[in-house]
């Protein structure tokens, strides 16, 4: 399997597309002409190659448009250059629905036109930007062009539906609960959902723009704030990309500590969300218990690592904090305790038939749709997508251990619930393994200024799934381009599909079972 698909695939391509291959800091780049952009996607999708991410950058008088593809754990970055004078190229979204919003994002941020794109509407574009100014072009100021009052966004052309008894429910962006802002537009007949359209972008923070010109440490801090609940994941992905670009090998102890941090983040989020799922069906008892477990776990984070959510623990070249041997034994005790609590709690949930009634068969995401949209993490794995970066494209420290990846094929809320519960157990095992492997050593490698123009793609498995971070350095150790792709970008469209034929009051629990990040999506 592994590396050979690229060779075979190149052979298939050779008849119609010329590919210029290059290898840059653990990242394979294939450069093609822009007119082959769509043809490449067609051939790739025939070979079951997965679309991973898409981004662009502005270099002098041209744009580089990139798309990342993966198969069997091997990633390649497809690249084409187009001139600023005629910024257009064929769309890949016609072949890969997953590329849809990503291309619209690129269109809004760079003014690049994707020919034949199935959806002509704006996506990230904000009313505060002039019609013909594009924030990620180099001539756009970092601080934007603030107006006194940003005009309201009144005329977004939502999908309309007509017919007797069909009505629209606008929900959000401000919600009654304490969650992030995002707008959902339902078309419903009675209680049945005919269509759901998401309108995200309310938490656009300009991450990509403000990343430009940062030093590596400052970028790592920024990456940790792409999505607050995935601070370890994004920080690690960004640091991995920067370290690859600079050619730095991090110490073994540092990688093991990073592994412990990432697994702790995964467990904390899974615990909280399992409770929240129960709360959405008014089973408050379970929510209280899981909230308690999560709180205990977060307090552990604070006492062993100095931050409840583990922010800024990962830094370029290693980690910012070490753990003592006594802390390691405390962590092991904590794991034993958590297992004992879960083994008491979870059977109680499993046996509750009223909970079962809500979770089984609701929010069904078929394996076909999950594959078509390239859904990631527990959402994908609950719908038969057997993929985990930690196992299939292993990176230190996961190269030293066996990663168990729970997969289910049913694709309903219950599947996602159980995949997440099993992931907690797998992560607890991983933490124990990492602690056993910990040997004395450095926790930080010396930073070396990378060459100007060096680039790399950092890929890690965050708790929501695969996170990719693209980094290009400019001169003087400064970041020229940073593009983080949160797994939510691929998972959000799956929500629009999985709620179809569900009833309106089941939407909150369907949404929670997917739990996409608004912030990570909006950037």
């Amino acid at each position: 399997m592994n590396a050979c698909w690229t060779i075979e695939f190149l052979n298939r391509l050779s008849t119609d597309i010329t590919v210029a291959q290059s290898e840059a800091a653990s990242t394979t780049i294939w450069q093609i002409e822009s007119r082959h952009w769509q043809r490449f996607a067609e051939l790739a999708s025939q070979c079951q190659v997965r679309w991973v991410a898409g981004w662009a950058e502005h270099l002098d008088a041209r744009f580089l448009v990139n798309a990342c593809f993966e198969n069997a754990g091997v990633y390649i970055v497809l690249r084409t250059a187009i001139s600023c004078a005629t910024p257009e190229l064929p769309s890949q979204a016609t072949v890969y629905p997953a590329a849809n919003r990503s291309e619209r994002h690129t269109q809004d941020m760079f003014g690049i036109h994707f020919i034949g794109h199935p959806d002509k509407r704006r996506w990230t574009r904000h009313q505060a930007w002039d019609k013909h100014s594009y924030p990620l072009r180099k001539d756009f100021p970092v601080h934007g062009k603030p107006q006194d009052i940003t005009p309201p966004d009144m005329d977004y052309p939502f999908i309309k539906s007509h017919g007797a008894g069909v009505y629209e429910i606008p929900v959000g962006p401000v919600h009654a609960g304490i969650i992030e802002p995002g707008h959902f537009r339902f078309q419903a007949v009675g209680e049945l959902i005919l269509n759901l359209e998401e309108r995200l972008g309310y938490v656009h923070k300009g991450i990509e723009k403000i990343a430009e010109g940062r030093a590596p440490e400052a970028l790592a801090r920024l990456a940790g704030r792409v999505s607050g609940d995935t601070t370890v994941g994004h920080c690690w992905a960004a640091c991995r990309a920067m370290e690859q670009a600079a050619g730095i090998e991090i110490p073994v102890r540092a990688s093991l500590l990073r592994g412990i941090l990432a697994e702790r983040e995964r467990i904390a989020n899974h615990l909280g969300d399992i409770g929240a799922l129960c709360n959405d069906v008014a089973f408050v008892f379970a929510q209280m218990q899981f909230t308690r477990l999560r709180e205990g776990w977060l307090r552990g984070n604070a006492s062993y690592f100095g931050h409840r959510l583990l922010m800024d623990r990962i830094i370029p070249g290693g980690v910012a904090c070490d753990v003592s041997d006594s802390a390691c034994s405390l962590i092991k005790q904590e794991i034993v305790q958590l297992r004992a609590e879960l083994s008491e709690l979870v059977p109680a949930l499993d046996l509750n038939s009223s909970l079962e009634d809500r979770f089984y068969t609701a929010g069904l995401l078929s394996t076909e749709i999950a594959a078509a949209f390239g859904t990631l993490g527990y959402v994908g794995r609950a719908s038969g997508q057997n993929f985990d970066v930690r196992r299939d494209a292993a990176y230190p420290p996961y190269t030293q251990v066996r990663v168990r990846v729970p997969v289910e094929a049913q694709g309903d809320i219950a599947s996602r619930f159980w995949v997440r519960y099993k992931e907690i157990n797998a992560s607890l095992h991983l933490i124990e393994d990492f602690i056993d492997l910990l040997a004395a050593g450095d926790i930080r490698a010396e930073w070396q200024t990378p060459q100007a123009d060096s680039e790399s793609l950092g890929i890690v498995e965050g708790w929501r799934g695969e996170i990719t971070a693209y980094i290009r350095f400019g001169s003087d150790n400064k970041i020229a381009r940073y593009y983080p792709r949160d797994p939510s970008i691929l998972n959000w469209p799956a929500l629009e599909k999985l709620v179809l034929n569900n009833i309106v009051p089941d939407f909150p629990v369907c949404n929670k079972s997917l739990n996409g990040s608004y912030s990570g999506n909006d950037l």
Binding site: G190, C278, A282, V284, N352, R358, I503, P508
Partner: protein
């Protein structure tokens, strides 16, 4: 004198309803291993709300602003019909259970109208769900009540309760069926788990809360108070019809005091049971509610059949 007691009884109903809500909250919190808010918190919330300025949408008609008063008054009138701690009060002449159901329906009609009045999607959704549920709950409730009425040969609550008291403790299958039917209906009608979640903030799942989403200030206070009152009425109904022992049959101070204590104790126990069931079950899928209420109707029907077959021939 009797008129005074009747008035006191209704006022007690109104005054004690938030206490019952507070006690229910305490029980639920304890069962969920949480620290409970103070027992008197519902009173504080009501006082707080009355001090706040109500915010009314620009397109609201008179229905929206008057509905809280109508709902509260109708629920209060329904309370005046139900014997709390004494039977044979002057109001008992009109203490007909069908009148009570009528008052509830009247209040609900205005609540649903108010939900629609603002024109938000949530209000309309809430009203539609409320009417769906009530159209199924009302027959089930009447069926349960008719079982009782057939035994006592009256739909007058006061006389029926006296009848049950005079009969003494006899095991009647029809009463058991009717009791369970009425409990199921009460849970649905007062918007408790598993039908509705009074504590939820998930806009799309709400029923009662969706209708009153736009209310604030004293309007909200009145509606909240009315729904607490409704919960208490159902509690008292269940306690006094099926377990009336302790209720005052004459108007001596002792009997009245004893009656009051008895009903408070019964309500306290009922609240514990409700809290227990709300902790043990999750909210059901909205389209399961019809099965739930059909089951309540079936129980009511079985109650009536078993009355006819087993009891009426004697």
């Amino acid at each position: 004198m009797n008129g005074l007691i009747a008035a006191i009884q209704t006022l007690l109903f109104v005054a004690l309803a938030p206490l019952l809500a507070g006690w229910l909250k305490v029980c639920k919190c304890r069962l969920q291993n949480r620290k409970a808010p103070p027992l008197l918190q519902p009173y504080r919330d009501l006082i707080k709300l009355t001090h706040k300025q109500p915010v009314v949408a620009g397109q609201a008609s008179w229905i929206f602003t008057k509905a809280p008063y109508i709902i509260f008054s109708a629920t209060m009138l329904a309370a005046s019909v139900v014997p709390l701690f004494a039977v044979d009060l002057p109001t008992s002449a009109s203490a007909d259970v069908i009148v009570m159901v009528g008052f509830f329906a009247f209040a609900r009609f205005f609540l649903a109208l108010a939900g629609l009045d603002i024109g938000t999607a949530f209000g309309g959704m809430g009203s539609s769900r409320e009417m769906t549920i009530s159209s199924l709950a009302e027959p089930a409730m009447l069926m349960a009540v008719f079982t009782l009425a057939m035994t006592a040969s009256t739909t007058n609550l006061s006389i029926a309760i006296t009848h049950v008291l005079n009969e003494g403790l006899v095991l009647r299958p029809s009463f058991l069926f009717a009791l369970f039917a009425l409990i199921l209906v009460a849970v649905a009608e007062t918007g408790r788990i598993p039908i509705d979640n009074p504590a939820t903030h998930l806009e799309l799942t709400m029923i009662h809360e969706a209708m009153i989403l736009e209310y604030s200030g004293r309007h909200l206070a009145l509606i909240e108070w009315a729904s607490q009152l409704k919960l208490m009425i159902y509690g008292v109904l269940i306690a006094n019809i099926f377990l009336p022992w302790g209720i005052a049959e004459n108007f001596s101070v002792e009997a009245l005091g004893y009656g009051l204590l008895a009903i408070l104790a019964k309500l306290a126990v009922l609240a514990v049971l409700l809290a227990l069931s709300e902790t043990l079950v999750a909210k059901m899928r909205l389209f399961r509610v019809q099965e739930y209420l059909s089951f309540a109707y079936l129980l009511g029907l079985l109650g009536m059949l078993s009355h006819i077959i087993l009891e009426a021939s004697r």
